[in-house]
Structure formats: structure tokens, C-alpha cells
């Protein structure tokens, strides 16, 4: 024979269990609904004094292997090299978002972007100046297209940790390089060539496929344009 107080205690425990199960289900659904923003590794934007402006980003899409020019409203610094770094960092951090169409590793991707005025000129050689002989470039210097080019060379110095975590594949690596080149070309027309370094060193490939030791022409890389 179960006493009355034991029955009351039993039903109180059953009621508590049902209530806690319901509360757990509610919490689970709430977490799932906010999961899309949980994986956002975008660095917190530094306070900018400049106004937001319309910027063209060359966004990559892995599904069909295309690059699309897309306009976004972003506040960017005015100085060219800092602006170039902010542009590439923003482009690559957007690709690290969970619903990105070109998934890339999160975290800071770009160490620096340097802008070098072209044409490149070799340091003055000693010997000829005292005799008044004009300094002519050597054969190797003359063969280098950078000694004849105009505009600016953008040297994008990527972080090794980011490059090491980049997905491996011809398509994904090609799209990453094309989207960086296309974004720089669209917003900084003075850039005529782009080179890549990883941790300040020349690297053969990005993640085993695309040639990262090459000097790329800054061109429009988009297959389609979306306003």
C-alpha cells in the first residue's frame, strides 16, 4: 500500500520531468535558430571615421566555378595600401561565413598589402657614373616585364596559417586568386600587377595546385555582374 504523501511526491516528480523536457526542447530550438551566426569568424570591424561607400567585390561561387561582381556598402580607409589590405581582408572574411558559396578558413588572412610603383628600377651600379657612362639595364633586368610596366604592383602577403588551412583543389584555389585580383582591380585601378607572398616568402602553390609564384595582371575576372 502506497501512502498518500508518496503518491503526491511521485506526481510532483513526473510533472517536473515533463516541464524540464519541454524547457530543454525549447532551448534546443532556440540554439538551432541562431546557429547560422555562431560560426561567424569575421574580425570585429575597427571604428571607421570614413563614410560607407559602394564597393565592388568579386565573389567566387564553387558550385558553378564563377566569379560575380557584387556591390556592397562598406566603410574603407582612404590610404591606398591600407585600403587594399582592408578590401582583401573583408573579401576573405566574408568567404569564411557559414553560408559562403566559396568556403574558406576563418581568422585573419592578410598580413599586409604593399603597393610598389612601377616600373621597377635596379639599384645604381658603381663604376660607370664617374666616367659619365649612362646606366643601361642588364639583359636580365631588361627582360623583366616589371622594368617596363606602369602603374603599381600590389604585393599581397598572406598569413601562413590561413594559406595552410585553405581547401585544396584547382577550382577553389583558382577562384580565391581570381576573386582577390578582381576585387583589387575593381576598386584600385592604379594596380596593374599582383603578386602573392605567404608569411613574407614566395610559395610555389596556394594549397598544392595554383601557381602562387607568378606575377598576375590585374584584370576584371568576373564572369557575371550583379548590382
Amino acid at each position: 500500500m502506497i501512502s498518500r504523501y508518496q503518491r503526491i511526491l511521485f506526481w510532483i516528480l513526473v510533472g517536473s520531468s515533463v516541464f524540464m523536457a519541454g524547457y530543454l526542447i525549447y532551448l534546443h530550438q532556440r540554439v538551432r535558430s541562431t546557429a547560422g551566426t555562431e560560426g561567424d569568424d569575421t574580425p570585429i570591424a575597427a571604428p571607421a571615421s570614413s563614410q560607407a561607400e559602394s564597393i565592388t567585390f568579386a565573389l567566387a561561387h564553387d558550385a558553378d566555378g564563377t566569379i560575380t561582381n557584387t556591390e556592397l556598402s562598406v566603410a574603407l580607409p582612404g590610404e591606398s595600401a591600407v585600403r587594399a589590405r582592408a578590401l582583401v581582408e573583408r573579401l576573405l572574411s566574408d568567404d569564411a561565413l557559414p553560408r559562403s558559396e566559396h568556403p574558406l578558413p576563418g581568422g585573419i588572412a592578410v598580413e599586409d598589402v604593399y603597393l610598389v610603383n612601377l616600373p621597377l628600377t635596379a639599384p645604381q651600379r658603381t663604376g660607370g657614373e664617374s666616367l659619365g657612362v649612362p646606366q643601361l639595364p642588364t639583359k636580365a633586368e631588361d627582360a623583366d616585364p616589371m622594368t617596363h610596366a606602369s602603374g603599381q604592383l600590389a604585393v599581397v602577403n598572406l598569413r601562413g596559417s590561413w594559406a595552410d588551412a585553405h581547401p585544396s583543389g584547382i577550382e577553389t584555389e583558382t577562384l580565391t586568386v581570381l576573386s582577390i585580383i578582381g576585387t583589387l582591380h575593381a576598386n584600385l585601378p592604379s594596380i596593374s600587377y599582383v603578386r602573392f607572398l605567404v608569411d613574407g616568402q614566395q610559395r610555389a602553390t596556394l594549397a598544392g595546385h595554383i601557381d602562387l609564384a607568378r606575377t598576375y595582371r590585374s584584370v576584371d575576372t568576373a564572369n557575371a555582374t550583379h548590382p
Partner: protein, 240 residues
């Protein structure tokens, strides 16, 4: 009498040998067999360089080698002399420069570089993004920059890529084609394409490791190469 018979027999045999020798001289020797066109397959990566992680425990180097092993007999059956940059998983594995050197020395009719990736869908076909050289074929004594060797073969590489794309479309395999800068593709002195096999469906239901999917890809490539070679002048690589 006995000597006469022997002499007669000697004359007879000598005559027969002389006639036979004359016939042998007069009969034209059989023509040397026409050399079979060489197709070079390059299963990318290998050894310590595993490439991308295509499946849970499968590396790109294994998928590319398996795919090359499926294409090889199909091309051989179609009359090609098929060579590969690696048959197994050697250590050390040839570098991309060494692979390009091997392929260039064989003067192949076409070079096909095989890759695999876990991202994207279907098959990605890439040709070199180098600008096309102004002369169709470089003079024999011309010095060609190593990084731009492919520039004289861009037109024929694009035709090969187009034929392979058409074959994949017929096989109902999704394709995306483009141009890239990649070793050893840029270093090859032959019509060359890089083919990257990704999951067949967007939901990943047919990964590149699927045997049936690989066989469909192999058959499409073999058929396309035969069709392309039939339309191409073997001496210049130009379309006929």
C-alpha cells in the same frame, strides 16, 4: 655416277638458294609499324604529397591513380600508346617540373593531368591561362621560357578541352571549365588539360571515390581523346 648425282644435287640446291636470295632481295621488307600516338596521363600528387582529403580516409593521390588506371586500358584499346608519370605511389614522387620533363621528352599527342577535389560538383576542366603565342609552333631552336612552354599549344589544348567537355555533357556529368595557372600544366609542350573530378551530385551522394562514377569519367575522356585526335593534324596539333 654417284658424284654426278651429288654435283647435280649441289647445283640444284645452290640454284634454289640463289633464287630464294633474289626473291628475298626483290621482296620489299615489311614497312615498320606506324608508331602509335602517345598520350601521357599524370595522376597528380603521390608519395608524401597526398593532395586534398577527398573522403573520410581517402587522399587525392589515391583517387587520381585509380582514375588513371581506368583510363589507361580504354585509351590503349583505342590504339594509343599510354604512358603515366607514376604507376604506383613511389617515394620520392617526381616533382611537377620532373613530370613536365618526362612528358615533354616523349613528344606526346596530348597530356592529361588528373586531380580530385571534395568541393564543387561534377568535373572541372582547366587549360592554361597563358596568352597564346603569336607563332603556332615554336621553331626547333627557339628558347621557350619554362613557365610559358604551354603558350604555343593553347589553341589545341582548348580544342581538346572542348571535346572532353562535350563528352561529359553527353554522359550527363556536370562540368565547369576554365583557365588557370598551374604547374606542370604551364610547362608542357603538348596539347594539355587538367581534369579535376569532384562529387557528382551537390549532396555529395556520388563522391570521386565511387567506382561507377570514375568509370563514366574514364570512358568519356577516352572517347573524347579518340575523337579529338581523329580531327587533329598529328604533325602540328592543328585542327584538320
Amino acid at each position: 655416277m654417284r658424284w654426278t648425282k651429288v654435283a647435280a644435287a649441289g647445283i640444284t640446291s645452290a640454284t634454289i638458294w640463289a633464287v630464294m636470295a633474289q626473291v628475298a632481295v626483290q621482296t620489299p621488307s615489311p614497312a615498320p609499324p606506324h608508331p602509335r600516338p602517345v598520350i601521357f596521363l599524370d595522376p597528380a600528387h603521390g608519395g608524401a604529397d597526398g593532395g586534398a582529403k577527398v573522403g573520410d580516409s581517402v587522399l587525392e593521390k589515391a583517387v587520381t591513380l585509380e582514375l588513371a588506371s581506368r583510363i589507361r586500358p580504354l585509351l590503349s584499346a583505342r590504339g594509343f600508346d599510354v604512358r603515366m608519370t607514376r604507376d604506383g605511389d613511389p617515394t620520392p614522387t617526381p616533382t611537377t617540373d620532373q613530370r613536365a620533363g618526362l612528358e615533354n621528352q616523349a613528344h606526346p599527342a596530348a597530356c592529361i593531368i588528373l586531380h580530385s577535389a571534395p568541393t564543387g560538383t561534377g568535373v572541372h576542366i582547366y587549360t592554361s591561362a597563358l596568352s597564346e603565342a603569336t607563332t603556332a609552333v615554336a621553331p626547333a631552336n627557339a628558347i621557350v621560357p619554362w613557365d610559358e612552354a604551354q603558350s604555343t599549344y593553347i589553341a589545341s589544348s582548348l580544342r581538346l578541352s572542348s571535346e572532353i567537355s562535350t563528352a561529359f555533357s553527353r554522359s550527363q556529368i556536370a562540368i565547369s571549365s576554365g583557365r588557370t595557372w598551374m604547374p606542370p600544366l604551364d610547362n608542357l609542350l603538348c596539347p594539355a588539360v587538367a581534369i579535376e573530378i569532384a562529387p557528382l551530385n551537390a549532396d555529395g551522394s556520388k563522391p570521386p571515390t565511387d567506382a561507377g562514377y570514375q568509370q563514366r569519367v574514364a570512358e568519356a575522356i577516352a572517347g573524347a581523346v579518340l575523337f579529338w585526335h581523329g580531327k587533329t593534324d598529328p604533325t602540328t596539333g592543328a585542327a584538320q
